[in-house]
C-alpha cells in the first residue's frame, strides 16, 4: 500500500509532521511548561524521513536532483534546512529552535503543496546529464536551507532582544536562548551558508566559463547578487560594522531576497537544460 503512494502524498505526510511539531511546541508553550524537545525532534525527524522518500521518488522520476520547478525548489530548501537542524540543532540546546525549524519546514512545504501551479509542469533531466551542474544546483539550494535556519535564528534574536528591551521575560520568551548564544549561532550559520554557496558558484562558474550562453543573464545576476550580499554581511559582521538587531534584520531581509531571487532563477533556465528537459503536465 505504501508503495502505491505518490511523491506528493509522501510530501503531504512530511508537511503534516512538521506542522505537528509546531503544534506540539505551541501547546507546550501555551501551557507554560517546558517544550518537549524529544517529541518535537521526533516529529521533525519523522517528517524528514517522509520528505526524503517523497523527494527521492520525485528525483527518480525526473532523473536527477528534484529542482525542476518552484515546488521542488521550496521542498528541497526545506529539506536542506531540516537536514542541518537534525545534524547540528541539538547542539543549540534549545527545544524552541526545533519549534521554529518545524515552523519553517511546515511553511515552505505546505506553501509549495498548496499552490498547484508551482508543480504544474515537471521538468526532467534538467541538468543535461552533467553531474557537476547537478551538484552546483544542489549545493546552492542547500545553502538556501542554511540561510533559512539563519533567518530563524535571526527572528529568535529579534524576539529575545525585544523581550529584554521591553522587560517582558516571562511566558514563552523565557524559552529563547540568550542574545549572545543566538549571535554566535547566526555567525556560524552565515559562515557555513556563504562557504557552501561559494563552492556551489565555483562549480557553476567552471561550467559557465566554458560556454557563457548556457546561463541566463538574469539568473547569473540574481545568484551572484545573493552571494555578494551574504558575503558582504559576513564581512561586515566580522568587521564589527553590522551587529545585533541590524545584523538580524539584514539576515531576515536577505533570506526574503534570496527566496525572491529564485523567481529569476526559475524564469531564466539555461537553454541547454531547457532543451534537454521534457515537460510532464500534471
Amino acid at each position: 500500500m505504501l508503495a502505491e503512494l505518490s511523491d506528493r502524498q509522501w510530501l503531504w505526510g512530511a508537511a503534516g509532521l512538521y506542522a505537528a511539531g509546531v503544534l506540539l511546541g505551541t501547546i507546550s508553550l501555551l501551557r507554560g511548561g517546558r517544550t518537549s524537545g524529544a517529541a518535537i525532534y521526533g516529529a521533525i525527524l519523522a517528517g524528514y524521513v517522509l520528505q526524503f522518500i517523497g523527494l527521492g521518488l520525485r528525483g527518480h522520476a525526473t532523473g536527477g536532483c528534484p529542482l525542476g520547478n518552484r515546488f521542488e525548489i521550496f521542498q528541497f530548501t526545506a529539506w536542506s534546512a531540516i537536514t542541518l537542524y537534525l545534524v547540528v540543532g541539538v547542539t543549540f540546546r534549545s527545544s524552541i529552535f526545533g519549534v521554529f525549524t518545524a515552523c519553517l519546514g511546515a511553511s515552505l512545504t505546505l506553501a509549495s503543496l498548496s499552490i498547484p501551479s508551482w508543480d504544474a509542469i515537471r521538468r526532467t533531466h534538467i541538468f543535461g546529464g552533467n553531474p557537476w551542474i547537478e551538484l552546483h544546483a544542489a549545493l546552492a539550494m542547500f545553502s538556501y536551507g542554511v540561510f533559512g535556519l539563519l533567518a530563524l535564528a535571526s527572528a529568535m534574536f529579534l524576539l529575545r532582544h525585544f523581550s529584554l528591551k521591553s522587560k517582558h521575560l516571562g511566558g514563552w520568551f523565557s524559552f529563547l536562548p540568550s542574545i549572545m548564544d543566538l549571535d554566535h549561532i547566526e555567525v556560524r550559520l552565515l559562515g557555513a551558508g556563504v562557504a557552501i554557496l561559494t563552492v556551489s558558484l565555483a562549480f557553476g562558474w567552471v561550467y559557465w566559463s566554458r560556454d557563457t550562453s548556457t546561463v541566463g543573464h538574469l539568473k547569473l545576476a540574481a545568484t551572484v547578487a545573493v552571494w555578494i550580499a551574504y558575503a558582504a554581511a559576513l564581512g561586515l559582521r566580522i568587521g564589527g560594522r553590522l551587529l545585533a538587531r541590524r545584523f538580524a534584520w539584514t539576515c531576515l531581509a536577505l533570506f526574503a531576497a534570496a527566496l525572491l531571487s529564485l523567481e529569476a532563477v526559475e524564469g531564466s533556465r539555461h537553454p541547454a537544460a531547457a532543451q534537454a528537459s521534457e515537460r510532464i503536465p500534471q
Binding site: 529584554l164 521575560l169 516571562g170 529563547l176 540568550s178 542574545i179 551587529l243 545585533a244
Partner: protein
C-alpha cells in the same frame, strides 16, 4: 490489635514567627535523636530542621507515640508545651505523607517553589537513615517524596523564574550572555544589595568580579569577601568598556554613570552587549542610556516587577502541583498500609542502630 501509624508533628513559618522559630531551632540533633530513640512504641523517626520549620516524622505502634515525641521534643528544647500546642501542626497517615511531598516540592516554603528545601529534606533523611532510625515505612515515604518533588519541579512551573531581586538580576544576565563564566562584572557601590547581587553572580559562575566605590576601606573589605578586584571610583566611566555587567548600588545623590559614558563604552566593544543593573535610589544610571543599541538597563522597580510576575506564575501552579502530589500520596498510601499493619505491636523489633540502617532502605 491497633494498627501502627505514620505521623508528623512540627511547627513552621505559617504559625511561628521568627522569634519563636529561633527558640524552636534544634540545639542538639544528637541529643534529640537519643531522646526520641527512647520513646516507647516509636518504631521509626526522622527529624527535619530548617530555618523555617521543625518537623518530626515518625511511625508509632499506636496513636499515642506522637504525643510522647512531642513531649520529648519540648523537654529537650525547654520549650513550653502549651505554647508548642498552640503553634504546632499534627498530621496522620496519608496526610503526613502528603505534607512531606509538599514540603520537599517547595509548596510549603516561605519562598514558594524554592529548591533548597529538597536538599535539606534529603540531608534529614540521610542522617536518619545512617543512624538506623528509619525503616520500611519512612524509607518508602521519603524516597517517594523525592521522586514527587522532582516530578512537579520538572513538569510544572512551580520553580520557574527567579523570585528575589538578586537572582532576577542573574537570570537577566544569563538571558543576555548565556554562561556567566566569561562575563566580567563591575559592582559600583558597597551597599548590602549590591554585595548580595555580586554574590549571586559569583554563585552562578561569574569568575571576574570587580568592586568600586568612594569608601576605599569598605571597597577593599567587600572585594576581599567576594574574592574580587578593585577599581578606583574615578575610573568607573573610563573602564566601563572592560565590563559586561555593571551592578550599581551607590548612595550617591546624583547619577554616577552618564549616558555619554555608556555610549562611549559600548562603541569600544560593539559586539558585546552591556547589562546595567541599577539598584540605587536615587538612580545611578541616566535613564536615557536604555535607548542605546546593545545596552540593557534595568532598575530596582523593573527587577521587583519581574520577581513579582515570577512569584505570581508560581502561585498559579499551586493547584496543579497539589493535585499531582495528592495522587501520588494516595498511591504511596496504598503501598504503605500493609507495612503499617506489619509494624503493629509484636510484629517485630524497632529498627535502630547501625545494622538497621541497611535493612530498611530500598535499593
Amino acid at each position: 490489635m491497633s494498627e501502627a501509624c505514620l505521623f508528623v508533628i512540627g511547627a513552621s513559618h505559617h504559625k511561628a514567627p521568627l522569634e519563636v522559630r529561633e527558640r524552636l531551632a534544634i540545639v542538639s540533633e544528637e541529643g534529640l535523636r537519643a531522646d526520641l530513640a527512647a520513646v516507647p512504641g516509636l518504631r521509626e523517626f526522622a527529624v527535619l530542621g530548617t530555618c523555617n520549620r521543625v518537623e518530626l516524622y515518625g511511625v508509632g505502634e499506636d496513636a499515642g507515640a506522637e504525643a510522647s515525641v512531642q513531649a520529648a521534643y519540648c523537654a529537650r528544647q525547654r520549650f513550653n508545651a502549651d505554647e508548642f500546642e498552640r503553634i504546632r501542626f499534627r498530621l496522620m497517615g496519608r496526610d503526613a505523607a502528603l505534607h512531606l511531598f509538599e514540603v520537599a516540592s517547595g509548596l510549603d516554603s516561605q519562598l514558594l517553589g524554592e529548591n533548597e528545601i529538597l536538599g535539606q529534606v534529603k540531608e534529614a533523611y540521610t542522617a536518619a537513615q545512617s543512624r538506623g532510625t528509619t525503616g520500611a515505612v519512612l524509607n518508602r515515604v521519603f524516597q517517594r517524596a523525592f521522586q514527587a518533588a522532582k516530578h512537579v519541579r520538572t513538569h510544572t512551573g512551580i520553580s520557574s523564574g527567579r523570585v528575589s531581586v538578586a537572582n532576577v538580576a542573574v537570570e537577566l544576565a544569563c538571558n543576555i550572555f548565556g554562561s556567566l563564566a566569561g562575563a566580567r562584572v563591575l559592582v559600583l557601590g558597597t551597599g548590602e544589595i549590591g554585595e548580595g547581587t555580586a554574590r549571586a553572580f559569583r554563585s552562578r559562575g561569574a569568575a571576574d568580579l570587580a568592586v568600586s566605590g568612594r569608601r576605599i576601606e569598605r571597597v577593599a573589605a567587600v572585594a576581599s569577601g567576594l574574592g574580587a578586584n578593585t577599581v578606583h571610583f574615578d575610573e568607573r566611566e573610563s573602564r566601563l568598556s572592560d565590563y559586561d555587567i555593571v551592578v550599581c548600588s551607590t548612595a550617591a545623590p546624583r547619577t554616577v554613570l552618564a549616558t555619554s559614558a555608556v555610549d562611549a563604552a559600548i562603541r569600544r566593544r560593539p559586539a558585546r552587549p552591556l547589562l546595567l543593573i541599577d539598584l540605587a535610589l536615587p538612580r545611578d544610571v541616566e535613564p536615557s542610556a536604555a535607548r542605546l543599541q546593545n545596552v540593557f538597563l534595568y532598575n530596582l522597580d523593573d527587577l521587583a516587577r519581574i520577581a513579582e510576575q515570577n512569584r505570581s506564575a508560581r502561585e498559579a501552579e499551586i493547584g496543579r502541583c497539589k493535585a499531582i502530589l495528592a495522587q501520588r500520596a494516595d498511591g504511596l498510601w496504598r503501598q504503605v498500609q500493609p507495612h503499617l499493619s506489619a509494624a503493629a505491636p509484636g510484629a517485630g523489633a524497632p529498627r535502630r542502630g547501625p545494622d538497621a540502617a541497611r535493612q530498611g532502605a530500598s535499593p
